[in-house]
């Protein structure tokens, strides 16, 4: 099992020596996860908020659908997105198969239900007494709306972090849609899959640790955000 220790040493070696292949995978990972998170937050937070805030017929059923979509398997998303953007698919003209934006599209589909469902949940779990109290003070509907947004901000942060966790760790979409192309669409997770396949277990462990470091950096910066608010 010396490859575990070897992997830890190698992780630092790859980072400090500026290994180009590693940095290319790190860049690809950060690029696709940023793009997919941006898209899923822009679409997911408003729709999730609306889903939790307003009541409308069929709301329960819709919630159930969104909750279920949180369990979408990544290889399945990969396959569906491949079918869509394959050059003979309906979105083939976009030409985004085997590209980073293609992977980001799949990851956005992965993250969207997570963001929407958890946002809706945090709005719903807001103590309804707050709402009643505010209303009894005679605050306007608009004020009430913005107060709710303020109150659920940590819930939204948790939704985003959860989605981020799924996006950076998935391998099925990146492999199927990205094709694991060296210097282009090789992300950290597909690189781990490749190195493991080649029997280079220490490199695989090293890349896994590097991915964890990125996640740590993201969480660290968000925790500062929380402190200074």
């Amino acid at each position: 099992m010396d490859f575990i220790v070897g992997g830890i040493v190698k992780a630092f070696h790859l980072l400090l020596a500026g290994d180009q292949e590693t940095y290319s995978a790190v860049k690809a990972t950060i690029y696709v996860s940023s793009l997919s998170m941006l898209a899923s937050l822009v679409l997911g937070i408003p729709s999730g908020f609306a889903l939790g805030y307003f009541s409308f017929p069929g709301k329960k059923a819709l919630r159930m659908v969104v909750d279920t979509l949180m369990a979408l398997p990544t290889v399945f998303i990969g396959l569906v997105v491949y079918a869509l953007i394959s050059s003979r698919g309906p979105l083939g003209s976009l030409g985004i198969l085997f590209s980073l934006p293609g992977i980001a599209l799949g990851q956005a589909i992965l993250a969207l239900p997570v963001v929407a469902a958890l946002s809706a949940m945090s709005v719903e779990s807001l103590d309804s007494r707050i709402r009643h109290t505010l209303m009894s003070f005679g605050v306007s509907r608009t004020r009430l709306f913005f107060t709710t947004i303020r109150e659920v901000r940590f819930g939204l942060l948790i939704a985003a972090l959860n989605a981020y966790g799924r996006v950076t760790t998935e391998v099925g979409i990146s492999m199927m849609v990205g094709g694991n192309i060296k210097w282009h669409t090789r992300t950290i997770t597909t690189a781990i899959a490749l190195e493991t396949g080649k029997g280079m277990f220490d490199t695989g462990i090293a890349l896994g640790l590097i991915l964890l470091m990125i996640a740590f950096a993201v969480n660290l910066s968000l925790s500062f955000l929380r402190k200074y608010e």
Partner: protein
């Protein structure tokens, strides 16, 4: 789905407009063996220098590689399952199938060799493995290697050992399958190139050794196929043709022959022979 696609595309235009469209790139689907052995890493830079074309490739089993060609998602293929390839070309999906190089398959297994197959013919070896119920790892993934393994089982005249408990279908790449075979002390069929790579990963002392080799039925032919421009109007036919021509050129053929690991050549060039 659609608005998201448009949004993403707009974003990618803003962020990537400069890099995505710079230079000519050729997209190839190939098998795991050409990638795992490092052959493509050695050839691609030379190809770029000679032609100015950047070669990108995705390494999968031959089955998926052909499917990617059929779906017009790649421009050119480098694969190794002659019978399936001929059907592919026959169906009008590909053109100009050119044989480029070969290596051979070998049966490897633990040195203890419980089924006593060392030095036997392939048919005898397969019979003995079946008779002894010794573990055998199969790719099980419609790859070139898998296709040939199935052919060999068929030639023994008995039904495929599909459901036998000793027959392990890994569904993974060749090196991964060898790794699994080593863990389970199983026999497996592999191309020699990948095996030499495996040997070199283990510093020349691998847990699995070559037991059967040199049988005529074990030849492993690799070919380049251009995806048909008639079937797929969007493929880069001209670039695919330059790659195909480049692969069979005398200089590249020599490069392939000179590509070695542990001082052993991995592929034998045989274009036009």
């Amino acid at each position: 789905m659609k608005p998201m696609g448009i949004l993403l595309n707009a974003l990618c235009f803003m962020l990537f407009a400069t890099t995505v469209f710079a230079g000519e790139t050729l997209m190839m689907a190939t098998t795991t063996s050409t990638d795992d052995t490092g052959l493509l890493n050695a050839l691609a830079p030379v190809f770029a220098k000679d032609t100015g074309i950047e070669l990108k490739w995705t390494a999968t089993g031959t089955g998926k590689a052909l499917k990617l060609g059929e779906n017009c998602d790649v421009d050119v293929l480098l694969v190794h399952a002659p019978e399936v390839e001929k059907t592919f070309v026959g169906n009008g999906f590909g053109i100009n199938r050119k044989e480029v190089m070969y290596n051979d398959f070998v049966i490897i297994g633990p040195a203890s060799d419980t089924a006593k197959i060392k030095g036997k013919s392939v048919m005898t070896a397969f019979e003995k493995i079946r008779g002894a119920g010794a573990s055998f790892a199969s790719r099980g993934d419609k790859s070139g290697t898998h296709t040939i393994e199935l052919d060999l089982w068929k030639k023994t005249g008995k039904p495929l050992p599909e459901k036998e408990s000793w027959y392990i279908q890994t569904g993974q790449g060749m090196l991964q399958t060898i790794g699994m075979a080593a863990e389970r002390k199983a026999y497996t069929l592999t191309d020699r190139g990948t095996y030499i790579k495996y040997e070199s990963d283990h510093k020349g002392h691998p847990p699995l050794v070559i037991l059967v080799e040199g049988d005529d039925v074990l030849k492993n032919q690799y070919s380049v196929i251009e995806v048909s421009g008639k079937h797929c109007p969007n493929v880069k036919s001209a670039l695919a043709k330059s790659f195909s021509d480049w692969m069979v050129s005398a200089r590249t053929q020599k490069l392939i022959g000179d590509f070695k690991l542990l001082g052993k050549p991995l592929f034998t060039p045989n274009a036009g022979k």
